[in-house]
């Protein structure tokens, strides 16, 4: 996946106005199956899959026993005991090793009871490994208000169109698209109200991709994928989850995906603690991006209206005439609060000129630009039909 095909801003606008496609074949795709799959998964993940039915999906976390986030994932229930999970590319091998360790009882799952073992050992299969006739899958994301029309230009069957038309967020169907078996799921990573992920056999992915291009979908790169998810407020592993601050699901704003009422899951005791004691949170901040304003970057300092450091920037993107930053700041900062940004030194020359690096919390500084805390997540309605 390149950083961009045309330009980040043009691709970003396309997804908000019509539809873009993203080659997400780098994402890890795993199958967990056998009679013990559901029981196994529900002990490994933070969310609760007992409420899932065939054709529905769920966002969740995989933690280690100390509560560190190993990855954020989406779980798709394809049959009573057949689940597909989609993991971050950067975490794919780690999750593979972790699942293997869990299946073989080589991993401590409960710090309070090191002897505790998972009793289940379901089949785990890498669905990206391409083999003839097998059920292998890679991810292509089709996102934006025109996404449905692009699918309907390929899938003409009115009955299937109606099912897709009525697909709710985090629901999916299994059908045939351009001659290929395809999971069409109303999920995505752009915040688009109408967005789908298409899971197809790796050998069939190019024909689906090309068909969508012919239909008018615009190819989009990693740069707009990042600016879209930042604008929407969605976390990226290593930035708004885990990473240098070891950000927890509660701090990221996803406490709802950690079901503390479950009897047990790996990392539960740490999450019980964290849910009561956390005092920082991920917030969305709107800042100006008029001409001549230096772009805000990761590690820049966030100040309250008195100039006191309350945290730092995790990610930032320019969207039209504003910048949207995701920042890790004091939990008691409210929506609509005015905040300032201090640009941390970008290089040694700036350090020599007196610009600071490694700013500590509660240090006082003069803001370079000012903005405002906005809603944790953005809503996009313009041009949207569903």
């Amino acid at each position: 996946m390149p950083l961009w095909y045309s330009s980040i801003s043009a691709e970003h606008a396309t997804v908000r106005q019509t539809a873009g496609i993203f080659d997400c074949t780098h994402m890890g795709v795993w199958e967990i199956s056998s009679t013990e799959a559901a029981e196994f998964l529900n002990l490994v993940i933070t969310n609760d899959i007992t409420g899932l039915f065939v054709g529905s999906a769920q966002y969740s976390y995989i933690l280690d026993t100390a509560g560190n986030v190993l990855d954020d994932i989406i779980i798709y229930k394809r049959a009573e005991n057949k689940f597909m999970i989609v993991v971050n590319a950067a975490n794919n091998l780690k999750i593979k090793a972790y699942l293997e360790g869990l299946r073989n009882n080589q991993v401590v799952i409960d710090m309070g009871n090191p002897e505790r073992k998972l009793k289940y050992s379901p089949a785990v299969r890498d669905m990206k490994i391409c083999c003839d006739d097998a059920d292998c899958r890679v991810d292509i994301a089709l996102q934006g208000p025109a996404a449905k029309d692009l699918i309907f230009a390929i899938i003409k069957d009115k009955k299937i169109q109606e099912v897709i038309e009525n697909l709710k967020p985090f629901h999916f169907i299994e059908t045939i698209m351009a001659g290929a078996e395809c999971i069409i799921s109303r999920t995505g990573y752009t915040g688009a109200k109408t967005g789908f992920e298409l899971f197809v056999h790796p050998a069939k992915a190019p024909q689906i991709w090309n068909k969508l291009l012919q239909g008018g979908a615009v190819p989009c790169g990693l740069g707009s994928r990042d600016s879209l998810r930042i604008e929407a407020g969605l976390p990226l592993y290593g930035h708004e989850l885990a990473g240098p601050f070891n950000i927890s699901p509660f701090e990221a704003g996803y406490g709802w995906a950690v079901k503390l009422e479950k009897e047990f899951f790996i990392g539960k005791s740490a999450m019980q603690q964290n849910s009561k004691t956390y005092n920082m949170k991920v917030t969305r901040i709107e800042l100006p991006a008029t001409k001549g304003v230096r772009p805000v970057r990761q590690n820049d300092t966030v100040l309250d209206k008195t100039g006191m450091c309350i945290g730092s920037v995790l990610s930032c993107a320019k969207v039209d005439e504003k910048q949207i930053a995701l920042a890790y700041i004091s939990k008691n900062t409210m929506e609509n609060a005015p905040v300032g940004i201090y640009y941390a030194a970008r290089n040694q020359n700036q350090v020599r000129q007196g610009r600071k690096q490694n700013i500590q919390k509660e240090q006082n500084l003069q803001a370079d630009i000012t903005g405002m805390v906005v809603s944790r997540f953005a809503k996009f309605d313009v041009g949207e039909k569903i």
């Binding site: 950083l3 980040i8 801003s9 001409k291 230096r294 970008r346 290089n347």
Partner: protein
């Protein structure tokens, strides 16, 4: 695209020498790699720079990159148009997107630069 008559560094800066004035900017290769440039931090006029000193910072939506001084001398003028139109660096990197002019103090730095043909060969090797 490489412009004839300019000299180049391995860090993808160019410099045009006219008498004792050196005009400096970044190359087409550099602007292409950086993507949409949205901010340029200019050096202060009057500043004395040695070869390869940090001269400017060019920021795109994906990165902040140092621009090193491809000459030796004192900054006599900066391209103030870039404050409101940083995209000139993308649109016309060898022309309207120039970054700074220096009064050359010592021209021996020229030996450390490549001509257009050498720079083209250098790019092929990357």
């Amino acid at each position: 695209m490489i412009a004839e008559g300019l000299l180049y560094t391995q860090d993808h800066e160019w410099v045009k020498i006219e008498g004792d004035t050196a005009t400096a900017g970044i190359t087409d290769y550099a602007q292409e790699i950086l993507g949409e440039i949205i901010f340029v931090e200019m050096p202060a006029v009057g500043k004395e720079l040695k070869f390869h000193d940090e001269m400017a910072v060019v920021e795109s939506s994906k990165s902040a990159s140092d621009v090193y001084c491809p000459a030796v001398g004192r900054i006599v003028e900066v391209n103030s148009k870039l404050e409101s139109k940083p995209e000139l660096v993308n649109e016309d990197c060898y022309g309207a997107g120039w970054i700074a002019k220096l009064k050359i103090a010592d021209s021996s730095f020229v030996d450390r630069l490549m001509d257009a043909k050498q720079y083209a060969d250098f790019l092929k090797g990357l």
